[in-house]
């Protein structure tokens, strides 16, 4: 019997990432890990790529992980957990192991969108029974806020710094959740810590599906985003309400938006509380602000279309067949 997704019941479960780790105060990433592990109703083995979470949770003889955990390198977390999962299948087949175990990656956007992309794509295509979770803070935060392909347009980072000629990052983010869904995997989803029930429900659903799953979870970074130490959840909520970070899931190709904002807020609500976008509000960068809003609008409209298409596709097809 699964623990109900209520604070009262969840508070009785053991938190599997102990406090005392060395993540920055107010970081979104350990919140992601705690929520995911609280949601899991199975024994879990985790694997992280090199990055903030990895270097801060397991130093020398100290580890914050109360579950089996492995870190190998930056670009190979998906291949590494694929190896663990394959050994599990082999030993289970040979009757040398009986436990029912789930395998989860916790990797940052640099290790996922960029350097680990090939390894991730390969593992998804091979169909390992694993859940890859990207905690997306939109830059290489561990090395000091360098731009990644997850960095939003207009952001000020240390490798696309705002200068007198270049106003921050000029390119759109890679739409990784869609790209992963397009691998034909059974489940891909986006989630945010502000909507914790939605996040945990998605984790549970993913773990109950056999095969490769991908979840992209927004993980605000107050150092890189230049926001307040206690703003992570509030900024996540604004990311959802402005449709910068829509919450949706794609199950066997069908897209469903899992939380629609009652009123879609302007993107500036999300941007203005972050120092990395401060320069966008200068008159000469108005065009960039406009473009950022247009990108979000286009993405949201496409999601609505995809959802309508998924909702309508099956009955329509059936009708067509009947007509024939």
């Amino acid at each position: 019997m699964a623990t109900p997704l209520s604070l009262k019941e969840l508070s009785k479960k053991e938190v599997l990432l102990s406090s005392g780790h060395r993540m920055c105060s107010g970081c979104g990433a350990p919140i992601v890990v705690k929520m995911v592990l609280l949601a899991a109703e199975y024994p879990v083995i985790a694997c992280s790529s090199t990055g903030c979470l990895e270097v801060s949770t397991c130093i020398s003889e100290y580890t914050a992980w109360k579950i089996p955990w492995i870190h190998s390198a930056f670009e190979n977390a998906a291949a590494t957990i694929a190896g663990v999962e394959t050994m599990y299948r082999s030993l289970k087949k040979q009757g040398k192991i009986t436990d029912d175990i789930k395998f989860i990656n916790f990797c940052g956007d640099g290790g996922t969108y960029d350097i680990g992309f090939q390894s991730l794509s390969g593992a998804m295509e091979r169909g390992h029974d694993m859940l890859y979770i990207c905690y997306d803070n939109g830059a290489y935060m561990n090395t000091g806020i360098q731009r990644s392909s997850a960095t939003p347009i207009g952001a000020d980072t240390t490798t696309c710094p705002v200068g007198s000629v270049i106003p921050g990052k000029l390119q759109q983010r890679k739409d990784l959740t869609k790209i992963m869904a397009d691998h034909g995997i059974p489940y891909a989803a986006q989630a945010a810590i502000s909507n914790w029930q939605d996040l945990m429900r998605k984790v549970r659903k993913a773990l109950d599906i056999k095969g490769p799953k991908f979840m992209n979870i927004l993980a605000p970074c107050n150092r890189g985003w230049r926001s307040g130490n206690d703003d992570a959840v509030m900024i996540s909520r604004l990311a959802v309400e402005t449709c910068y970070w829509p919450l949706y899931e794609i199950e066997n190709g069908d897209l469903k938006i899992t939380s629609k904002p009652k009123e879609k807020k302007p993107l500036t609500e999300f941007l203005k509380i972050q120092g990395r976008f401060k320069h966008l509000f200068a008159p000469e960068n108005e065009w960039l602000l406009k473009k950022a809003q247009e990108d979000v609008d286009r993405g949201w409209e496409r999601l609505l279309r995809d959802e309508a298409c998924a909702a309508g596709s099956k009955p329509t097809e059936e009708k067509t067949e009947e007509n024939q």
Partner: protein, 392 residues
């Protein structure tokens, strides 16, 4: 009682892997290794092994998957060659740093550029400092025998280190030779059941593997790797003794061929040693005291034993099938280090041969031995490092 077959080196090693029956095998195609993993994959497809295959998208992922699989708590193997080994370079150190007994046959191939798929030792020499044990093989029989012995060495509880078994690309991997196979059950008993150490899959006893280690402790970890490596020689010899019991074939740290009373000698790895032995014989027939030393265990390198075997020669040429541009080639450096501590020592010269699969012919060995004879006679060395079999 075994079986005598005519097989390629790749086929022999694939058969050894079938007999070992690893729990997980990661495979990625690269010439001239491809044929090895194709053969092993068909064993998996035909249900002849319990192995779960991971058909990865790169060699980097092949070894990464083996790291995960081995850390999970079972036997993991892969195989590679040339640029594939080069792509693995980063994670070679992860495997050895985590002390995971992964087995990896390496079908030695040159490195680009220019692109060349043929045999030389640039790949494995580039990995010599990665903390992996390296066994080298002259022919298909040795490649088979080394593969059968590899896990008994790697999985020894005193060391737990990854191991490469090297054989020359095409020259051995694709040539058909006479090989004596051991019976399946003999190999199975020899290799034995896998003994896991801190397996990740033991969910009741959670472990964190792969921590961040800062300057306060990192060096101790590295020092321990050297300590483990220093124990390998004895384990290799112990394993060789046990292997001789089941096969009748004796192995050591290296092969010394007509070396006891030799005055001139060649040190050479892998397939070219066979050609050289023939030439050594013909020089002996002429009354010239020639000999050969063929290293088998290249990492860790048995300096004392090699030095002892070579110290009384008058002149030696180390023939390297890999180069270090602007420096002496890798095998030469080891032989020089082996002899350095002796007060009187042989004159030592270095020749690079056979790069990118360039044929090594008996006349090359003749030229080298004649030059050594001349050096002994005159005491003069024209070039300490030179090339052989190349258009100048």
């Amino acid at each position: 009682m075994g079986k005598i077959v005519a097989v390629t080196g790749n086929e022999a090693v694939a058969n050894a892997l079938r007999q070992i029956n690893p729990d997980v095998c990661a495979a990625y195609p690269i010439t001239p290794q491809t044929d090895l993993m194709q053969r092993f994959s068909s064993f998996a497809s035909d249900g002849l092994v319990d192995t779960e295959m991971i058909l990865v998208e790169s060699e980097h992922s092949a070894l990464s998957a083996c790291i995960g699989a081995s850390a999970a708590g079972g036997r993991a193997v892969t195989a590679t060659a040339g640029p594939g080994l080069a792509l693995m370079w980063e994670v070679l150190f992860v495997a050895s740093g985590m002390r995971l007994p992964i087995l990896m046959p390496v079908v030695n191939r040159s490195l680009s550029a220019p692109l060349n798929i043929h045999g030389d030792h640039s790949d494995a020499m580039g990995a010599r400092d990665s903390g992996w044990i390296q066994l080298w093989s002259e022919n298909a029989q040795e490649a088979y025998d080394n593969t059968v012995q590899a896990l008994n060495i790697a999985e020894d509880m005193d060391i737990r280190l990854p191991i490469m078994v090297c054989m020359d690309g095409f020259i051995i991997s694709h040539s058909i030779e006479r090989v004596e196979y051991l019976d399946d059950d003999v190999v199975k008993n020899f290799v034995g059941e896998y003994k896991p150490l801190n397996p990740l899959l033991d969910i009741k006893h959670p472990k964190s593997i792969g921590p961040l280690i800062l300057p306060d402790a990192y060096m101790e970890y590295k020092r321990m790797q050297h300590e483990a490596m220093s124990k390998v020689k004895d384990i290799v010899l112990k394993t060789a003794d046990a292997f001789a019991q089941i096969s009748g074939r004796k192995y050591g740290l290296f092969e010394a061929y007509r070396l006891d009373d030799a005055e001139v000698g060649i040190v050479i790895l892998n397939s070219a040693a066979g050609t050289t032995k023939d030439v050594v014989d013909s020089f002996r027939e002429k009354g010239i005291k020639a000999g050969l030393l063929k290293p088998r265990l290249f990492r860790p390198f048995p300096y004392e034993e090699v030095g002892e075997a070579l110290k009384d020669l008058k002149a030696i040429c180390v023939l390297d099938r890999a180069d270090s541009f602007g420096a002496f080639a890798p095998l030469y450096v080891e032989i020089a280090a082996s002899l350095y501590t002796y007060k009187t020592k042989p004159i030592l010269i270095n020749k690079v041969y056979g790069l990118g699969g360039r044929d090594y012919m008996p006349e090359h060995a003749e030229i080298v031995l004649n030059e050594l004879v001349e050096i002994v006679k005159t005491g003069k060395v024209k070039n300490y490092k030179d090339y052989i079999g190349v258009r100048e």
